[in-house]
């Protein structure tokens, strides 16, 4: 059980970091980085999410069970997206002769 109360300072610090990250997302979007635009945008989004999950949602300091469920959510979402992508990603591959 955690009745651990985080100091207000921590919350405000996280809040500031989140605001800075939002500004960064917006700023970077206007710089042409080619395919890296989306990578950077998502990396920042993941960072922001981690901050919210760990501090605002108190997962830092929670039991490993809670952490397991958080990770499981993203794991199965990744399965949904990535395995579907294997279909779309390989539809245009040409068969090259005989396989066996």
């Amino acid at each position: 059980m955690n009745h651990h109360v985080l100091p207000v300072r921590t919350y405000v610090l996280i809040w500031l970091l989140l605001l800075i990250a939002t500004g960064t997302t917006l700023g970077v979007a206007y710089i042409d980085l080619g395919p890296w635009n989306i990578v950077v945008a998502l990396a920042i989004a993941f960072t922001k999410m981690s901050l919210v999950v760990l501090f605002f949602m108190h997962v830092k300091g929670q039991s490993s069970l809670t952490k397991l469920f958080v990770v499981a959510g993203f794991f199965f979402m990744a399965i949904l997206i990535l395995i579907t992508m294997t279909d779309y990603g390989t539809r245009s591959w040409l068969p090259q002769g005989r396989m066996w």
């Binding site: 199965f76 949904l80 395995i83 579907t84 294997t86 990603g89 390989t90 539809r91």
Partner: protein
């Protein structure tokens, strides 16, 4: 219920309070289980009527009994009702609701009000589905494939989609409740290694419900929005991909097959152990394989799409993974069989259903391997071979287990025994009728008879007649228990707390149990299925 004997009957969950309000506003998991039992029986009968009408039509090759439109609505509503309103809630919502708190030694589920809410959600979803049926029916097939469902169908697709969408949340909330209960509500000493195998099966089921159902919810929501707005993300007219719908649909609907079968496997593990008077062979492997099925089951959905034009490389991956998911299922079958080895096997009705389950599930599973084989699937998919395959798993497996479990725990639920002789007869009739109904359909499928056909080529008639004849026997097999279960409510012999000599916390409390299950919080200090003392356990 048995109120006339209140003086002599101790207070239990059935007679503790009376009046319809005490049922409709109850938060007692056992009463909610009974509410579910009644409502899913209604849907089972409804779905059964649709099936009978279809089998009647199929006795002749010409479509002479119903118009093709009516026939299409019949098979759609049979599928929708049976899958979303009978099979998905069947064991979880009735036996699971009733037993899980007792098996883990808790007074109730973690969220009793949410449990009641989930029943109401289920009923609201069911009413939408009934509304769709009464308004004139749906003709999309239970799979709601786009663009037929979004653009072309003139039937009442919206109420059906809304009904399934709503019922999904009932399934989610039930799963959520079970997961939290198993994690947080176990009695002192009830470690994970001591949980009954039914609880393991239900826990794995709940994981699938929680992870998969939201995806079908959003998918059907997108279909509904596309139907309302006439434009949406699956619409080929603007570059949308109907195959993406199938990906998202089967991401839930393949694991949903395991929602249907895993609880059945849990029941069989209990029944086989009890009537062999032995700890199930390879407890940890049966438990682990439930989790294995739950996780691997999420990786194989593409095997429904081998002929759609899915990338052949993706198809190969899905085919391979489908074989992988067969391994944990095979482990279970072997372990149940091995449990009987050197056991003390009694032939009570639940055990007869368990025999039926093992045999029919084996056949259903092995034909599933044929469907997972790429080249063979190309020929037999979308034919009666598939119909036969999943009825062997769903009806031969799941419904057999459901009936077996209902017989097994009927004394606990109602405090009355069912008539053993009639029950054995019914089990035998069900087994024979089932095989006659669906066995011929394997051959029909390989011959090339396509499913969802209202009229068919005349060379398929003899086997169809056989199948319809089997269906009428099967209907008798289902009607007999319905009658004697009702009869037993008042006329059945009073049940003792543990009529089978079974192990498990639910057998240590009275039949029927008191409202809070146990008079004292139980403390567990022996392993699961301790039919003999620890030192007598042989490790091979």
């Amino acid at each position: 219920m048995s109120t006339e004997t209140t003086e002599r009957t101790p207070i239990n969950y059935l007679n503790a309070t009376t009046g319809w309000k005490s049922w409709l506003f109850t938060t007692d998991h056992k009463r909610i289980a009974v509410l579910y039992l009644i409502s899913i029986t209604v849907f089972f009968i409804l779905g059964g009527i649709f099936a009978s009408l279809m089998r009647l039509e199929l006795t002749t090759p010409q479509g002479d009994m119903f118009s093709s439109d009516t026939y299409n609505k019949l098979f759609t509503m049979h599928g929708v009702v049976m899958i979303f309103f009978f099979l998905i809630p069947s064991i979880p919502a009735t036996l699971g609701n009733f037993l899980i708190p007792m098996m883990v030694g808790a007074r109730d589920l973690a969220f009793p009000k949410i449990n009641l809410l989930s029943w109401y959600i289920y009923i609201i979803g069911g009413l939408f589905a009934l509304g769709a049926i009464l308004a004139g029916g749906v003709d999309t097939g239970w799979t709601f494939y786009t663009p037929y469902s979004t653009t072309y169908s003139n039937a009442y697709v919206m109420p059906a989609v809304v009904g399934v969408f709503i019922a999904g949340f009932s399934s989610i909330l039930t799963g959520l409740n079970f997961i939290v209960t198993v994690h947080k509500m176990r009695a002192p000493g009830m470690t994970w290694g001591r949980l009954p195998l039914f609880v393991w099966g239900m826990y794995a089921t709940s994981l699938i419900q929680v992870l998969g159902t939201p995806v079908i919810a959003i998918t059907l929501a997108l279909v509904g929005l596309e139907r309302v707005f006439h434009v949406g993300i699956f619409d080929p007219a603007i570059g949308g991909d109907p195959i993406l719908f199938q990906h998202m649909f089967w991401f839930y609907s393949h694991p949903a097959v395991y929602i249907m079968i895993l609880p059945g496997m849990g029941v069989i593990s209990e029944v086989v152990g009890c009537f062999s008077r032995k700890r199930p062979f390879g407890y940890s492997f049966i438990a682990g394989s439930s989790l294995g099925i739950a996780i691997l089951g999420f990786l194989v959905w593409g095997h429904h799409m081998f002929v759609t034009g899915e990338s052949m490389y993706a198809s190969m991956v899905f085919s391979f993974l489908s074989f992988a998911v067969a391994v944990p299922s095979a482990i279970k079958v072997f372990n149940w069989t091995a449990t009987m080895y050197k056991g003390s096997v009694a032939f009570n009705t639940p055990m007869l259903y368990a025999f039926g389950f093992i045999g029919l599930f084996t056949i259903g599973g092995l034909t599933g391997l044929m469907l997972a084989t790429l080249a063979v699937d190309v020929h037999v998919t979308r034919t009666y071979f598939v119909v036969a395959h999943f009825h062997y798993v769903m009806v031969g497996g799941m419904v057999m287990a459901y009936l077996g479990g209902l017989h097994f725990w009927w004394p606990k639920i109602t405090g009355r025994m069912y008539p053993e002789v009639w029950a054995r007869i019914a089990a035998a009739i069900t087994f024979i009728g089932f095989n006659l109904t669906f066995g011929p359909q394997f051959i029909l499928g390989y011959m090339g008879m396509v499913r969802r056909y209202h009229a068919y080529a005349p060379e398929f008639q003899p086997l169809n007649v056989l199948s319809s004849a089997g269906a009428s026997i099967l209907a008798v097999g289902y009607a007999i228990p319905f009658v004697y279960f009702l009869w037993s409510l008042t006329k059945g012999e009073k049940a003792p707390a543990n009529p089978w000599g079974a192990k498990g916390l639910e057998w240590e409390t009275a039949s029927p149990p008191p409202t809070f299950n146990f008079d004292h919080t139980p403390v567990v200090n022996e392993p699961a299925y301790a039919y003999a003392k620890d030192e007598e356990v042989e490790v091979v």
